[in-house]
């Protein structure tokens, strides 16, 4: 749920630097982690975070409150920035790939702190599926905010979420079966 005071804070941020910096403090960690989770690279995560807040600063006066948190807007800027960075070839995580190759999976897994089956299966999902799952379940954003970030309606968001979770479940089941087979043969 959006913070009821956030609207006032945004209005002030359109005139006062302090208010904008308050918003920065509120969201910088989440945007940094979001950027890091997609790039797996500290330098790139910093670049994406810096670019996101600089763009937010340049456009804050044009921002219109629509009952969705300011964070959703920042996530959308960050998402666009990530896409641009990916197009420039600055990172090769499966953000824009529909299916991951085995090598990519291996590399992604290496970048993750937890090498469990869930993360392995997640890494095999398409970028679109990863994005919707990450925004909804890892970033602690509401469905309304995720729909706002992805520029789609809530029914479409739920459909995409359901499909992504179904595919993840299938991958997970295959992964777990594969992991069990070696144990059974031992």
């Amino acid at each position: 749920m959006p913070d009821p005071d956030e609207e006032q804070l945004i209005r002030r941020a359109q005139r006062e630097p302090q208010a904008f910096l308050a918003l920065y403090e509120r969201y910088v960690d989440r945007i940094y982690r979001f950027a890091y989770s997609h790039t797996g690279n500290e330098a790139l995560a910093k670049d994406v975070t810096s670019a996101t807040f600089e763009k937010a600063l340049r456009n804050i006066r044009r921002y219109q409150w629509r009952g969705v948190s300011f964070g959703a807007w920042l996530y959308r800027i960050a998402q666009n920035e990530l896409t641009q960075q990916h197009r420039k070839g600055r990172f090769t995580t499966p953000l824009a790939e529909t299916e991951s190759s085995e090598a990519d999976v291996e590399r992604t897994v290496q970048h993750q702190e937890q090498h469990n089956a869930l993360q392995t299966a997640l890494a095999q999902l398409s970028a679109t599926d990863q994005q919707v799952i990450a925004l909804r379940f890892f970033e602690e954003l509401s469905s309304t905010e995720v729909a706002e970030i992805l520029q789609c309606s809530r029914p479409v968001l739920y459909l995409r979420l359901h499909r992504a979770l179904t595919r993840l479940r299938n991958l997970l089941e295959n992964t777990e079966i594969n992991e069990e087979i070696p144990h059974a043969t031992k």
Binding site: L21, V28, K46, E113, Q119, I133, L165, R169
Partner: protein, 475 residues
């Protein structure tokens, strides 16, 4: 998966339910979200400072547009867009012409080469209102045929024996079972009027064929004449409309004779011409495509229909067989040659006038001062007495019609002038000048189609002398 199932699934997801493998997985994802590094403090503080500096610079470099300015610009933008849309709409809208423009276009009709149609006409008042049909053919420049079907013969099982149609043996019967009452044919060389009841045919000068229309009536109200006369009368109506500030309204569109027509109402003021008075109004129907006048009606006070004229069918600009514009009277028909003698001697003219003066029950007058370039023809008696004067190209330049006149309530078109103690009315329009004068019970209507001035016409009228045995008309 159907949308309704997705909706139910979404509700359970938002409620935190885990009674479905995908919902269980969603809960697991939330619980096992990746542990990501926190934002490096140095970076965090540096970005904070950078944003503070940028914000201040941004405020200095780009002062924000005030809300009022933004709104003003937005309103201006919307207004500009609206004006553009309006212009586009006005350019593309086919029916955006005003009633006055429609009348003006109808009054400047030039593209009409030919038409053939049946006109339903009527006049009278209340239960005395009668209706009849006229079949009209026109082909440019001067071919005209008018067949008048009277209601007098309605119900007859056979046409009168003396009824004659055009040169073909077919008897013309309209769908309304009206039989031919009169026929007028003109082809520019010959002109005939035929009355089946009297079995008489009158041969006329084509130039004088249309001269019998009372000059105070607008042909636009009866339509049964050549289109140029309808157009001329429309021009007069339009001119009066402008001059008298009458109310002209476009009432909408209606179908007349299978064609889409503009319906225009013209409300005259109390100083209107003879046949109209305060409280009456005129309704005209003008073809949307060709601007031909398709109908007219005049209504009096309480909306009583006084006269109407409406095409029941019309074919435009289609060739007509030449036989339609010829008339060959059979041997049984009495033929009278009413063509005036061209270039009569002064003695012949004098005799003709004296003979007519003895014949008609009203006084006749003849001018003694007429410009030398106008050569007189013999006077003729058809409906009243007429005399025409021609200029060099033999076109009728001056026409003088004389009728018995006792209606003192009639008001003439134009401004009043006193000539020899008699009140005359003069008007001019599109090179047509007319002067109407009532003298000793005779209406003298003088029409000039030439570049003559009002003074010229008044001079001719001033020289009128009563025809008697002692008067010798000036050639």
């Amino acid at each position: 998966m159907p949308q309704s199932e997705i909706d139910r699934w979404a509700q359970r997801l938002e409620a935190g339910d885990q009674d479905d493998p995908t919902l269980t997985l969603a809960a697991r994802l939330q619980a096992e979200r990746p542990q990501l590094p926190s934002t490096p403090t140095e970076f965090r503080n540096a970005l904070h400072e950078q944003l503070r500096t940028q914000y201040q610079q941004y405020q200095k470099e780009k002062p924000s547009m005030s809300k009022f300015t933004r709104r003003s610009m937005a309103v201006a933008g919307v207004l500009c867009a609206a004006v553009l849309l309006l212009i586009v709409w006005l350019l593309w809208k086919p029916q955006s012409v005003s009633a006055a423009e429609i009348l003006a276009r109808a009054a400047n009709l030039t593209a009409l080469q030919a038409y053939e149609g049946v006109i339903v006409r009527g006049n009278g008042q209340a239960d005395a209102y009668t209706q009849w049909e006229e079949h009209v053919w026109f082909q440019a420049p001067d071919n005209l045929r008018i067949e008048d079907y009277s209601p007098l013969f309605t119900g007859s099982s056979a046409p009168p024996e003396n009824l004659i149609a055009r040169s073909t043996p077919t008897i013309q019967i309209s769908p309304g079972h009206f039989y031919l009452q009169s026929l007028k044919v003109s082809n520019g060389v010959d002109a005939w009027s035929f009355d089946p009841r009297s079995n008489m045919a009158l041969r006329q000068d084509p130039d004088e064929f249309d001269a019998l229309y009372p000059s105070i009536v607008f042909p636009t109200y009866d339509l049964t004449t050549s289109p140029d006369k309808v157009v001329t009368s429309l021009q007069m109506l339009l001119d009066k409309t402008r001059a008298d500030f009458r109310d002209v309204k476009l009432l909408g569109t209606e179908t007349v004779a299978g064609r889409q027509a503009y319906k225009i109402e013209v409300t005259p003021n109390s100083d209107d011409v003879t046949e109209l008075s305060a409280g009456t109004h005129i309704v005209l129907w003008i073809d949307q495509e060709t601007y031909i006048q398709l109908g007219a009606e005049i209504r009096g006070i309480y909306d009583v229909l006084l006269t109407h004229s409406m095409f029941a069918s019309i074919r435009v600009n289609q060739p007509t067989d030449a036989s339609v514009f010829t008339f060959n009277p059979p041997g049984s028909v009495t033929v009278a040659d009413a063509r005036p003698k061209v270039n009569p001697t002064s003695v012949e003219l004098s005799q003709a006038w004296q003979a007519l003066a003895a014949k008609v029950p009203f006084k006749l007058f003849v001018p003694s001062e007429v410009p030398a370039y106008l050569k007189p023809k013999s006077p003729i008696a058809i409906q009243g007495v007429e005399q025409h004067y021609s200029s060099k190209n033999s076109a009728v330049a001056l026409s003088i019609l004389q009728l018995a006149w006792s209606d003192k309530n009639v008001r003439f078109l134009g401004k009043p002038i006193l000539i020899n103690g008699y009140k005359a009315y003069y008007w001019e329009q599109f090179n047509i000048h007319q002067l109407n004068l009532v003298r000793d019970g005779t209406l003298i209507s003088m029409t000039v189609r030439a570049d003559v001035t009002q003074d010229d016409l008044i001079k001719i009228a001033s020289s009128l002398q009563e025809v008697s045995k002692t008067v010798t008309p000036v050639p």
